[in-house]
Amino acid sequence: GIDCGADSRMCCRQEFFVDFKEIGWEDWIIQPEGYHMNYCAGLCPLHMAGIPGLAASFHTAVLNRIKAASAAAAVDSCCVPTQRRPLSLLYYDRDSNIVKTDIPDMIVDSCGCT
C-alpha cells in the first residue's frame, strides 16, 4: 500500500492519530494512549483498478474479466482498505470495572483500488 504524501492524488493511506489526552479520554482509557484512525483517500482511475497487490481480491478478478469483455462495462473503482487490524483497548467501564477488549478491523494498514 502507499502512504499519502502532501500532494498525493492517487489512492493512498492517510495517517491520522487521535491522542486520547487531546480529546479528554485519558481518564477512562488506560491503554493505549491513542488510536491510529488512518483512512483511504485518492483517485482510482481505471488503469489503476485491480492492479494485483493493490486490492488483490476475487472482486478484482471479476472486474478484470468484465473489462476484458468490454471497456464500457467497467464500473467505477474505489480507494478502500486492503489490510486492517484490531484496536486493543484497556478501559474503565461505568462501574469502574477494568475491561480489556480487541475491536476488530479498527486500524487501516493499507489501501488499494478495487
Partner: protein, 232 residues
Amino acid sequence: AARGERCPACGVAALAPGAQRDVLLALAKQSILAKLRLPARPSAPQPPARGTLLAALRRLREQRSDTAALPGMLRDGPVPRPRPGLGLQEYEILSFAESGSSTSRSVHLHFRFSRELSRSTEILQATLYLFWAAPSPGAQPVTVRLLRPDPAGTNTTVASETQLEVQGPGWTTLDVGPAVRSLSGRETPRLTVELEVPEDWGSPLLAEHSDSHRPFVVAQARARTPHRVHRR
C-alpha cells in the same frame, strides 16, 4: 458512495484543515463508543487503589502454571480466545468488590457489571477471588451464597450456595460463571456474595478493604452472535 452522496473521506477532504480535524476526531469518538456498545463515554471512574490492582494482577499471574487460564489482561497484544471464536469481539472484565453490610459472622460483597456488557455479551467464564485474613487454625467451613436481583430489581434471590473449607490465610477461588450469566439482561446486573462463618473468627472475616487484598471477579465474555435466522 452512490453518485450525489458524499462518502465521509471525500467529504472530509473538501473541508478546511481545522474543520477536517474536528470532523475526524468526532468520527473517532463515535466509532470507538459504537464498537464498545457505550451510549456515551463513562463518567470519571473511581480506579481501585494501586496496591489492590497490583495484588489482583499478581494473583492472576501466579496462575502461570496454566497459561491458558491466564487472562488476556496480563498479556500484551490481542486477548487470546478462550476457545476458537467466530471473529467475535472478546472481553476480559476485572471487577473489584464494594463492601456491603457485615457482622462478626457474615460479610456482603457487591459486584456491578455494566448493563451494556451484560446485554450484548455472553459470559464464557467468571471466577471469584477471596483473600482470607488469619482464620483460627484448622479447616473452617464458610457458607458462600451468591445473590442476584430479581427481575424487578427490588429483592434479591439466592442463585447458589456453596460450602468452602478455608484451610488458612491466603487466596481461594470460586466459579461464579452461572451466577454472573444469570444477570444477563437484568436492569441492575449486580452480583452479591454473602459469606457466613459458624462462629466469630476473632478477626475480620476478610482482609480489610483498605488492604490490597480486596476480593475481585475476573470474567471472560464474548459479543453475542447475531441472531441467526434459520432458513427452511
